[in-house]
Symmetry: C2
């Protein structure tokens, strides 16, 4: 079983309007809602790849109930109830252009008792896991060093752990020596101070991450690991909606790790899934035929070590 | 007991962001949510004025549960459960300027069986009511002549009925001879084709409404009734948030009608409540000291009959 952790789950709402005009009223022409938060998105892709997956984190209030009710049957639900209400995110899509305006609630205040209860539950879940993914932002009340503690617990249990977050929680988490971090270019630059991805991935390893896979958007991924350095690139520039592409890449890396595949195959899977997510009509889903087709057309090359 | 009908109840969500910039991501700095829809707003003001009030209409889904849970204890809940989910409205307030961008979901699809069940429940509720207010838009599935039928049922039971809606539901409802309609200037112009309020209120009476009270925004109200014609004006131009001012005016008219007050007193109360709502810091609430002070300072004058 793969465990994904989403401390700040969300009810992701998408509104379609012809054009968003500030300071006017809009009739929403189409509304969809579904469970969100990075770890839940990663879990959805892992389940679609045929992996047994369990989600944990927090869910509360009416929005939390909807998140739990709407979880696919193929995903195990180990979310902990909390007194606060799970946040909503609202994506307003202009139907004329496809441009999106995003409104993100901060999330519920987690009490010290809730955070303690989570850490206990997490230890039990990790004991049964083949791998763990720690994903996304921290809700108010959870200490900034939370991921560092969760990384250490996974490592103590001998379970590989992927960390996908940003800012100070990433900085502290990296120092706890996770098996893998998967920053995008901005997150990597914020962590290392370097805008040169090759140098920055190397630097992130020196800060503690055992492997660093940085997403370069449409240009694919670069990886710095103990076994070598690679660059993985899709065959053509992919156009579409990049929402969820990073979560699909994380699911690709984690599934291939659990299956014992070598690094080049892990990276090819991550890039193919990521590109197939950009191509999918629904944000966050992946286009399966495109994924299967792309998988044979990802270029993975060895990179020389940076100076 | 005063009965207010809200067929398209809502969970009204307010987000505060520094400035809304289309096609970017925003962290919401403050979020509030409360039950909404015009009839619920009218009921809240009636309850604050000390009247016994019951709300009916539809509520469904997780959002409908929140609407029911958050109804003040002072309001009787006779909302009918439906299979669809109660709509949300999202008001995004720019904290720098106070400007508001509104996103309104259309509402759940009401099935023919749900609409039949409502009409039966409504007849029972009307039998116990001193007055009825029919408020707001119709959700999908409810026939456009719905309010006309509900007006006729109230009249058959000898219960005074106020209709506060717009467009075709207003046009059809007016023809069923409600005791009172309370359009704003735009709604009145749409109904009658006239942008001259004095003429238009007269015309709305000819179309069937027994009394017409038109809101002229900061300039107060004008009324055309069987007993005479009046204009009611606040002492000064009131600055603030006009959200809910029309619902407060409806509550003022209805409460004063039930109390048997003469028309000038009804209009003074409606204008004072409406102005005190514009002055309140929270949209839709009214400032009670301001209301009590304003009540003695509303000018009500008799209007000559239009040519």
């Amino acid at each position: 079983m793969i465990l994904t952790v989403t401390l700040n789950t969300a009810l992701d709402i998408t509104y379609r309007v012809p054009v968003l005009r500030p300071h006017t009223a809009h009739r929403v022409t189409e509304m969809t809602e579904r469970p969100g938060g990075k770890g839940l998105n990663v879990a959805r892709v892992l389940a679609a790849l045929g992996h047994e997956v369990t989600v944990t984190g927090f869910a509360g209030g009416a929005t939390g109930r909807v998140v739990r009710e709407r979880l696919p049957m193929s995903i195990g639900d180990a979310l902990l109830p909390v007194s606060g209400a799970t946040r909503r995110t609202v994506a307003v899509v202009d139907t004329r252009t496809g441009d999106t305006t995003q409104l993100n609630e901060p999330g519920p205040l987690i009490t010290p008792a809730e955070w303690s209860a989570f850490q206990e539950a997490y230890e039990d879940l990790v004991a049964d896991a083949d791998a763990v993914a720690l994903c996304g932002s921290l809700p108010p009340g959870v200490p900034v060093g939370a991921y560092a503690g969760l990384v250490r617990k996974a490592r103590a249990a001998g379970v590989p752990v992927l960390l996908d977050t940003s800012g100070e929680p990433l900085r502290r988490g990296v120092a706890a020596r996770p098996d893998l971090v998967k920053p995008n270019a901005d997150e990597l630059a914020e962590l290392t101070g370097s805008h040169e991805p090759l140098r920055a991935t190397q630097d992130a390893r020196r800060r503690g991450a055992q492997a660093v896979v940085a997403s370069l958007g449409p240009e694919g991924l670069i990886a710095a690991t103990a076994e070598g350095r690679w660059r993985a690139t899709p065959p053509t520039r992919i156009h579409g909606n990049p929402t969820g592409a990073g979560d699909s890449a994380a699911a690709g890396l984690l599934s291939a790790l659990v299956e014992g595949l070598p690094w080049p195959d892990r990276l090819a899977r991550a890039v193919a899934l990521s590109a197939a997510t950009v191509l999918a009509p629904t944000a966050g889903d992946f286009d399966r035929p495109a994924y299967e087709d792309l998988l044979d057309h990802i270029t993975v090359t060895t990179e020389a070590t940076a100076a």
